[in-house]
Point group: C2
Chain length 372, copies 2
C-alpha cells in the first residue's frame, strides 16, 4: 500500500530519512551492519553491504533501494540490477561518487571546472606534479575517504610512499587558493525534474564540516547562478537520481571549481530540515520514488547549522539537554543516537532568523553546550 | 543513554511523535493493540491497554509513560503508579479528559466559563433540562466519545432512552449559540513551565475537525488573551503535564466557553509540525520528560491544516501522490498509514503563507486530491 524505500547503511543520514518517511507515509526499511546504529528504529535486516546475498535478502518487497553511504561495491550493485531491483542513484552514476579518479576524469570530459589534477602511481609522477604546481599539492586515495581521511597535503615526492606501497593509483590535485568553501545541493528524479536549494557556505575544521550558512553570504547573482549551473550539469551529465551534493571552492580569483561529490543527503544540507519548505531527506525520498519534488524555498532569511562533535568528556548528549534547551528555545536540536567519541559527529543544531550575526551566535551557543 | 518515552496506543498521534523523537534523540516505544497500526514503526510491544500486566511489561526500561488516547482505565494507571512508573499526564489529571461529567464538575469548581450543564440519569431529568433551555440541548455519554460519537442533539425527554437503558449518568449541556469553534493548545511540564501556540479556529464537519486556521482570524488581543487565560487556568488547575488542547466555543455574544478537553497532542495542533518553531509532538515529548519547552512562534503569517478523510473510493493514498505533489509543491503532506475507510482520518495537509484566502485555497486543493 505505502511505497517501500530500502536504505543501505544505518548511519545518521538513514536516521534522518525516517521523519520524512513517517510524515509523508513512506514505509522505510534499513539494512544496518550492527544493532544499535543511528537508524536502528527503521532497521529491518542486519547484514553486510559487501555481501550480495545479505543485500538481496534485504531487497525483498522493497520498491527502491537507496543509500546512507557510497561504499556498496559495484559487484553487489550489479547483482541487485540482475535481480530486477530498482537502485537509485543507479550504480553507473554512483560510481563517480565512489572513485575520485573516475570522478575527475568524467567531470573533465563534461567540461566542469575542476582543479588541475593527475592520476599518479609513482613517487616520480607525484614529484613531477609538485614541480609543475609550486611544490605543494593535495594527494587523495580514490576510494574510501571521508571527513579528511584519505586526503593529505604533500610537499615532497616521497610524501605518498605509504599509500603507493598499498597499491593502486592515487589522485593528485593542485592546492587550490580558495577564499571559502561552498556547496550546492540538488535533487533530481528519474523523469528529469530537478530542484535545488540555495548555494551554502561550508566552514571546515580539521577536514570536517563544522558550520553551514544558508544561503552563502554575498552569493546572490553570479555566484548562485554559476553554482546552480555546475550542479545541474553534473546531475544531468552523470544521470544522478536522488540528492547530489557538489562541494565547491570559491577561488581567490572568483572562480568556482568542484572539490567533491556525494550522491545522498549531505551534511551541507542538514539545515534544510528546519530551514526549507522541503528537507533534503524528504526530497531524496521523493526523488528516488520518482515523485514530484517539493518546494525548496527558505523558511528564514538565514539558517545556520553547527555540527555537534563528541568532546573529550561528553557523556550522554541528553544530560546536556536541560541547560541547552532552556538557553536556546528557538534552536532546533538534532542528536543521532551515537556514542559521543571525541571528534565524532553526533548531532547538529540549526538556528534561523533575519540577522546573520545573531543567528550564528545562537547556533554556536547551542552547539557549545555539548562541546566539552 | 537516550531518554526513553513509552506511548500507550498506536494511532496517528503516537506516529507523529516519532519524527520529533528521532530528531531530538529520544528513544520512543509504542504499545499497540495490533500489528500494522499507524505508529507501527515504533511498536515495541503488542498488548491490551486495559490489561495491567500487558502494560507493566511494556513499561520496563521506560523513563516516562504517555498516551496516544485517553482510554487507559484508572485501575491500570493505578497499577503503574504502584509499580513506580512515571505517568504523564498523571492519572488524577487524565481523569478529567476521560470523564466529561467529572470535567464539567471540576471546571465549574475552578470558575472556568462552560456551557450550562447537568448530570442526568432519567428521561424526566433530561426533560426538565430541555424545558429550562428552550427545548433543545446536547446530550453526551461521559466516556468514550470522540469525533462526534457519544454526542447528539436532543429535543425530547425520550431522545436519550437508549443511552439511559445502557446505564450510568449522562451529561446534558445547553446548545451553545456559537459563532465559531476555537482551540487553545498549551504544553505544561511538571516543573510548571508553560508554553502555548496562538489560539486557532477549528472548522468542524459532521462532528469531525475538517480544517484549522492558525492563528484564528481576528483573534489578536482580547480573544487571544481570554483563550490563553482559560487554558492556563485549566492546565494549572488540573495539574496537566504534556500537551493540553482546550476546545472552545466563541459565542454570538462574544464569550468563550469550554467545550472539550484533550490531554495529548490534538488535531487542532497538527499545523504546528510545519507552521511553528516547535511542533506539539516535540513539545509533548519535552514536557513529559520535564525538559525545557521550545519556542512556539509561527513560521508563517497563516497556517491552514485540512484533514484528509477516506472517500468512497479512496484506495492507497500514495496512488494520489504524483498528481497531488506536482500540483502543490509548497504544501506539506502527511499520511498516517491507515486503510482509508470512508470518513476516517487518514492524513492531513498544511499550507502556509501571507494571504489567508490563498493559503486556504492551497490547503483545500491539496486535500482534495484524496477526497473521492
Amino acid at each position: 500500500m505505502s511505497p517501500v524505500v530500502g536504505v543501505i547503511g544505518g548511519g545518521q543520514l538513514a536516521r534522518m530519512m525516517i521523519p520524512a518517511a513517517v510524515h509523508l507515509g513512506i514505509d522505510i526499511r534499513v539494512l544496518a551492519e550492527n544493532e544499535g546504529e543511528s537508524a536502528s528504529l527503521a532497521v529491518s535486516h542486519l547484514g553486510d553491504y559487501r555481501n550480495a546475498a545479505d543485500v538481496l535478502r534485504f531487497c525483498e518487497g522493497v520498491d527502491v533501494i537507496t543509500f546512507d553511504h557510497e561504499h556498496v561495491p559495484q559487484d553487489v550493485l550489479g547483482a541487485l540490477l540482475d535481480a530486477g531491483v530498482t537502485v537509485r542513484p543507479a550504480p553507473d552514476a554512483l560510481l563517480y561518487a565512489q572513485d575520485k579518479l573516475l570522478m575527475r576524469e568524467r567531470l573533465a570530459a563534461l567540461g566542469i571546472p575542476i582543479p588541475d589534477w593527475a592520476r599518479v602511481s609513482t613517487a616520480e609522477q607525484l614529484g613531477a606534479f609538485l614541480d609543475e604546481h609550486g611544490g605543494a599539492a593535495v594527494l587523495k586515495t580514490p576510494r574510501g575517504g571521508y571527513d579528511g581521511k584519505g586526503v593529505r597535503v604533500v610537499h615532497a615526492a616521497s610524501d605518498g610512499d605509504d599509500w603507493f606501497a598499498a597499491g593502486g593509483d592515487l589522485l593528485v590535485e593542485e592546492l587550490v587558493d580558495f577564499r571559502r568553501e561552498l556547496a550546492q545541493v540538488v535533487a533530481r528524479r528519474p523523469s528529469g525534474e530537478l530542484a535545488m536549494w540555495p548555494v551554502v557556505e561550508s566552514v571546515q575544521r580539521d577536514g570536517v564540516c563544522a558550520e553551514v550558512i544558508a544561503p552563502a553570504p554575498a552569493s546572490a547573482g553570479r555566484l548562485a547562478d554559476v553554482a546552480a549551473d555546475i550542479a545541474t550539469a553534473i546531475a544531468e551529465g552523470l544521470g544522478v537520481t536522488g540528492v547530489l551534493a557538489v562541494e565547491l571552492f570559491e577561488t581567490t580569483d572568483e572562480r568556482l571549481v568542484v572539490n567533491e561529490l556525494a550522491m545522498r543527503p549531505h551534511n551541507t544540507g542538514h539545515w534544510t530540515i528546519d530551514g526549507s519548505t522541503t528537507s533534503q531527506f524528504e526530497q531524496h525520498l521523493r526523488a528516488v520514488l520518482d515523485l514530484p519534488l517539493g518546494a525548496t524555498g527558505c523558511r528564514d532569511e538565514w539558517s545556520v547549522m553547527v555540527n555537534v562533535l563528541g568532546g573529550p568528556s561528553t557523556g550522554s548528549l541528553a544530560d546536556r539537554f536541560p541547560r541547552a534547551l532552556a538557553a536556546q528555545p528557538t534552536v532546533k536540536f538534532h542528536t543521532y543516537g551515537k556514542a559521543p567519541r571525541p571528534g565524532r559527529k553526533v548531532g547538529h543544531v540549526t538556528a534561523g532568523g533575519d540577522d546573520l550575526d545573531e543567528v550564528v551566535y545562537r547556533a554556536r551557543a547551542a552547539s557549545g553546550f555539548f562541546a566539552d
